[in-house]
Every structure is written in C-alpha cells, then in structure tokens.
C-alpha cells in the first residue's frame, strides 16, 4: 500500500575489541514503510540499538559498519558524505533516546535547543524559530510554554524532558522518527502519557517510527510491524497481530510466554533456560540452539536462513524449513 522508506540490506556492524570481534549487527535486513511504526524488540545486546545507530551513522570506534547497504528515501546512506548525513539527521530523521537528561545540553535552555534544528535545517530566523519552538512545546502538551522555553533541563522532570526531546526530534517534520527505548526510564503513568503523545503526533504528522524497545507491552500497543532480534540477527518479523497471535520462532514464543501479564496470572512463569551467547564467540550454528527446546542436529551445525513463511511472516528457524522440522503444530 505504501512505499518503502528505509531498507536495511545485509548490514554488518562489528566492534573490533581486544577480546575479539563482536558482531553486534550480523547480516540484518528489513524494511520500514512510509508512515509505519516498526517495533524492533530483543533483549540487551541483541543489536537493536546498534542497528539504529548504523542507520544514523553514529556508530563510534571501535565499531564499524563493515558491509551492507542502508537505503533511506531512495538514497544509500552508507554512500553519503558526513555533511550530507548531517543534513539528514535532525531534519529528515529525528531521534529520541532513553535518557532525555543525558541527550540534552545542560547549559542551554530547552527553547534554544528546539530553535537550533529549526534554524539549521528550516533556515528560519531566530525570531521565527523561537515562536515555532514555543508552539512545539505547547504541541507536546506542556503547559505555560513561554515560561518552559526559558527553563534549563535540570528544572524539568523526566517526563517533560522526554516531551522536549520529542519536540526537537519532530520540529523539522521528519519522515522517520527513531525512538530508542523512549519510555524505559519513565514511570508507568508518565509512560502512558508519552506513548499517547507519540500516537497523536504520528496521526498528525504521518512520520514512520522505528521503535526500539524490550517491552512487549509497548510494542503490542504501538507497532504495526515487529522485528525480533537475537544475538545480532533478525530471527522473526511479522505484522503485530500475526506475531502475537502466532509467534513462530522458539525464542519469540519463549519471550512472549516468560513475561508475566497483568490479569493472566499463572502458577509458574515459563522461562527460557541459559543466557544470551557471547557475541564474540558465535559459530556457524543457530545462535539460539543452546537454549532451544526444539533443538535438532542441524541447528548445531548450520544457521537457518530468514525465510518467508506465509505472506508476510518471516522466520529464521530450521523447524519451518522443508525437509527438516515438523510442520508447525
């Protein structure tokens, strides 16, 4: 129905350290369509944040994008110069992070920090930009915008700062908003406010959102499409309803079953045994095989490809490959 806005094609981002090469993003491919919210989920160290940083080319040494292409709106970002990339960031691609306090400049007022991208990218005069900044502060639901614009970050609460971050990210009307754990540091009642705000602004502005989170509840609520990552790879992707109704990869199934859900209390929680493998010591096996209850012989020796199972549901698991696993029960 709509065009592809972002396409990751076989992206490899590795960190070369003394302890070995950490393959944080290891052959990742997926798409984000215009106006779509794509949730990228996974546990710590699965590479979801590094995937976003690779898109923005903010990966710092010893990290390096070794291979692949990242297409954004018809351009391969990995072929752009630093200046061209800077023109995109904060303009066509907005971003918000987990800790708003550490992403804002403590010695500038929040108004000045919204003015900055407006002057830089939209070439507004200082006066116009200030008026627009105040308008944005109001738009993100903060009362007394004139006064708040003149406040410094330390004078505001975490919830308000995240609203300011959203204003900065969206004031230049980007096509894509990257939200990396935007509500993880917030209390649950404030999280509800911020998620509501994001939904409302998305309705108004129509940008696509790449939502990175570990919280399955947030994904269920916000996303249209979900990408599940494990140990630097995409192991499953599907539209949100489909993924929650019929998760296919044993890891996704385990993840959904191990989260306690309010109102659906069980006697005992399901838990995935073991822990995430060391990213520097990944072999040719399926990276999940040591923790998998359905592990077969081939899983120990060969990696399963990410293949379409059904219309839009993709999964990387030998169980769904013809001639290996049982057809799903």
């Amino acid at each position: 129905m709509s065009n592809t806005l972002v396409e990751f094609k076989h992206v490899h981002t590795h960190f070369d350290t003394d302890e070995g090469i950490f393959k944080a993003v290891n052959d990742v491919s997926f798409r984000i369509k215009e106006g779509e919210t794509v949730g990228v989920i996974g546990e710590s160290g699965c590479g979801k944040s590094v995937t976003a940083l690779s898109l923005m080319q903010l990966v710092t040494a010893p990290g390096k994008i070794n291979d692949g292409e990242i297409w954004f709106d018809g351009r391969n970002l990995l072929g752009l110069t630093r200046d061209q990339m800077r023109q995109l960031r904060g303009h066509e691609i907005g971003m918000i992070f987990q800790e708003p306090m550490s992403s804002l400049n403590p010695v500038l007022t929040v108004g000045e920090q919204i003015v900055e991208p407006l002057q830089e990218h939209l070439l507004l005069t200082k006066k116009e930009a200030w008026a627009k900044a105040v308008e944005w502060i109001k738009k993100v639901g903060i009362p007394r915008p004139e006064k708040i614009a003149k406040s410094y970050p330390h004078e505001l609460s975490g919830g308000m700062l995240q609203r300011i971050m959203i204003a900065i990210a969206l004031c230049c009307n980007p096509k894509l908003l990257i939200a990396d754990e935007p509500t993880t540091a917030l209390d649950v009642t404030i999280q509800a406010q911020v998620l509501d705000l994001l939904r409302q602004l998305k309705g108004e502005l129509g940008m696509a959102i790449m939502l990175i989170t570990h919280d399955l509840g947030v994904v269920a609520e916000m996303a249209d499409y979900v990408v599940v990552m494990y140990a630097g790879q995409v192991i499953e992707e599907a539209p949100v309803l489909e993924l929650f109704r019929e998760p296919k990869h044993p890891y996704t199934q385990g993840l959904l079953r191990s989260k306690p859900v309010m109102g659906q209390r069980q006697k005992r929680l399901y838990s995935i045994p073991g822990q995430v493998p060391n990213l520097a010591q990944l072999g040719e096996s399926c990276h999940f095989h040591e923790r998998c209850a359905s592990c077969m012989e081939i899983c120990r020796t060969k990696q399963p490809p990410l293949r379409t199972d059904g219309d839009t549901h993709k999964v990387a698991c030998w169980l769904y490959e013809e001639g290996f696993g049982h057809e799903q029960a």
């Binding site: 399955l216 989260k259 859900v261 309010m262």
Partner: protein, 329 residues
C-alpha cells in the same frame, strides 16, 4: 491494625505501625533545616509468615525507603517496627545483631554490592563467619550448597563478580541473602535490571526458595505485572503514603483508589488485540519535599473535589482487609 485482620490467622511476622521517615532539607549558610522530604509518611501494614507482600509505586513514592527503614539500614523518624512480636527499637545494638541474620535484603543491582576483588564464594560465605554461624572449615561446603540451590555451579566459587552476567549476579545476591537462613527477605526491585527471559528465571527461583524454606517476602517493585505474579497481598504507595492495600486478587479485580485504577490501566499489555479504556493521568508526580495539601493525589486525580484539597483522607478498612485512603470511596 492487626486485630482487624481476622480472615487469615497465620502468625504476623512483621507489623509496621505509623512508620515515618523524613529527610531534612538544609539551607542557608549555617545549614539550618528548612524543611523535610517526607519519604515515608505514616504508613502501617502487616506481613504474615510465609506470604509475599508486594509494595508498588512510582519513583519517589517511598517504597525503597520503607524497605531500608524496616531493616534499620537507615534510622526511622517515627513509628514502630515489630518483628516476631519484638519492637526492634527496644533492642540494644548487640541484641539487634542477633536478629540481623533472620532479616535479609536483595538489591536491584547486586554488582554494586559485591567487592570486585573478592571471590564470590568468599563474598557469600563472609556473613556466616561474621555471625559465627559456621567455622572456617565448614564454609566452603555451606556455600556450595547454597550456590547449587540458586542455580550456580561449584566452579563459580572462585570466580570474581565481573565474570558473571546480570542474571547470575542476581543469583549471587540471592545466595548471599539466604545462606544465613533468614525468615524474612526484602527484595527491592530484584528483577528490574534484567531481561525478560532472565527475569522469569529469577522470579521462579525466588518462589522455589519460598516454598522450600518458608520464606516471607517484602517484594518492592514498580512493575505491576511482576508484583501481581509474586504477591499474596499488595500495598500501593504514592508520595510516601499507602493509598490502597488489598489481597492480590481483590486489588486487580476491584481497585478502589483512583490512583490504583490509573496505574493499572497504564500498564501496557502484550496483546495487540486488546482494546482498553485508559485513564491517562495529567501532570507529573509532585515533589515529596513539597507535597500537595489534603489528599496528596488531588493534583492529578480525575475525581477531585474541593474537600480533597483541604483534608487528608483517612486510611481505613472498607471490608475484608481492603484498605483505602480516599474521600470519595
């Protein structure tokens, strides 16, 4: 308060009565006390032997301070803490020491409470020596027993804290607490720093230990789904006060306080098909240094009346041990 709890006649292990903890705010050049942060402001509850009492609330609600004050890790301002029928205040330092092994604490991030240069076997066994509960010769054997109980292996004995993952460190934290054979354990956000799949492992470990050893827990968490899973009874805190307390089933099926209702409705549920009526609270949590007059929740309450701004609502039993502090109930 205990005399009202007739439904369950199990022995009351801990009785907290009108507990207050105020931190002074100093100002001026002479460091005079100019006010107080009322971190815990007159709360009362009881915990029976063998049960898990969950304490939920957002940041700044005073739930952690409550835990620390009960164990006398920080001195209380006022109130009584009666443990096994003995007022802990009436004990001398020496007598209190004898009670210490029976009350233990599990922290959110055990890494911060482990000495990086001490082998974890020694770290776990240390307390046994301190309290004269084992001779140096017996220590190794006792530590190994607890290690295996907590899902760790004997070769972990001689390792250092940095060699462990987050989940394993939490197992160490738990091993350290239970080696003294306590009756009562306060777990302060024990799974909040962990990934979902590891979270489930630790929650299951805690409930296994409870079953085997008849432990009583005070489980402090901001995560309502986790609290629902582990608790028998639950208290909800807001700005230093208990606003509601009930059995788990009652609290989730029939929350009475407007804050509890909002809190429950704000939790994202991992089910994209679910359509819920959400109560979104406006505004931020006020500062505990300058709490609102009357009912502390009135600034954010959707049902606020003029009366709420003037008078503090009484915390009372509305039937069957369901306590609530609200004028409109």
């Amino acid at each position: 308060m205990s005399k009202h709890d007739s439904k369950n006649d199990k022995e009351i292990l801990l009785d907290v009565r009108h507990l207050k903890k105020y931190y002074p705010i100093t100002g001026g050049i002479f460091g005079r006390t100019v006010g107080h942060v009322k971190a815990v402001d007159d709360i009362s509850f009881t915990i029976r032997r063998g049960e898990t009492f969950g304490l939920v609330g957002e940041s700044g609600s005073g739930k952690s301070t409550t835990g620390k004050t009960i164990l006398r890790l920080t001195p209380k301002t006022e109130g009584e803490i009666i443990y096994k029928g003995v007022d802990l205040d009436s004990l001398s330092k020496q007598e209190l020491r004898e009670y210490r092994p029976s009350m233990q604490f599990i922290f959110q991030n055990p890494y911060h409470s482990l000495n990086p240069r001490q082998r974890i076997g020694d770290a776990i066994g240390e307390a046994l020596l301190d309290h004269g509960m084992a001779t140096p010769a017996e220590i190794r054997e006792k530590v190994l027993e607890v290690l295996s109980l907590c899902g760790l292996s004997s070769y972990h004995y001689d390792r250092f804290p940095h060699e462990f993952s987050g989940g394993q460190r939490q197992r160490i934290g738990i091993a350290r607490a239970i080696i003294l054979n306590p009756d009562f354990v306060i777990a302060d956000e024990p799974v909040s720093a962990l990934d979902v799949s590891i979270q489930a492992q630790i929650i299951n470990l805690l409930s296994d230990l409870q079953e085997e050893r008849g432990l009583t827990y005070l489980f402090i968490s901001h995560d309502l789904s986790v609290v629902e899973h582990v608790s028998d009874r639950i208290g909800v805190m807001y700005l230093g006060s208990l606003v509601e307390m009930a059995t788990r089933d009652e609290l989730f099926a029939q929350p009475l306080h407007p804050y509890t209702k909002a809190l429950l409705s704000a939790v994202p549920i991992p089910d994209p098909t679910l359509k819920r009526e959400r109560i979104v609270l406006t505004g931020d949590i006020p500062s505990p240094a300058d709490p609102p007059t009357g009912c502390k929740f009135h600034t954010r309450c959707p049902y606020v009346t003029p009366h709420c701004r003037m008078e503090v609502p009484a915390y009372r039993d509305v039937g069957g041990g369901h306590y609530v502090a609200c004028h409109i109930i």
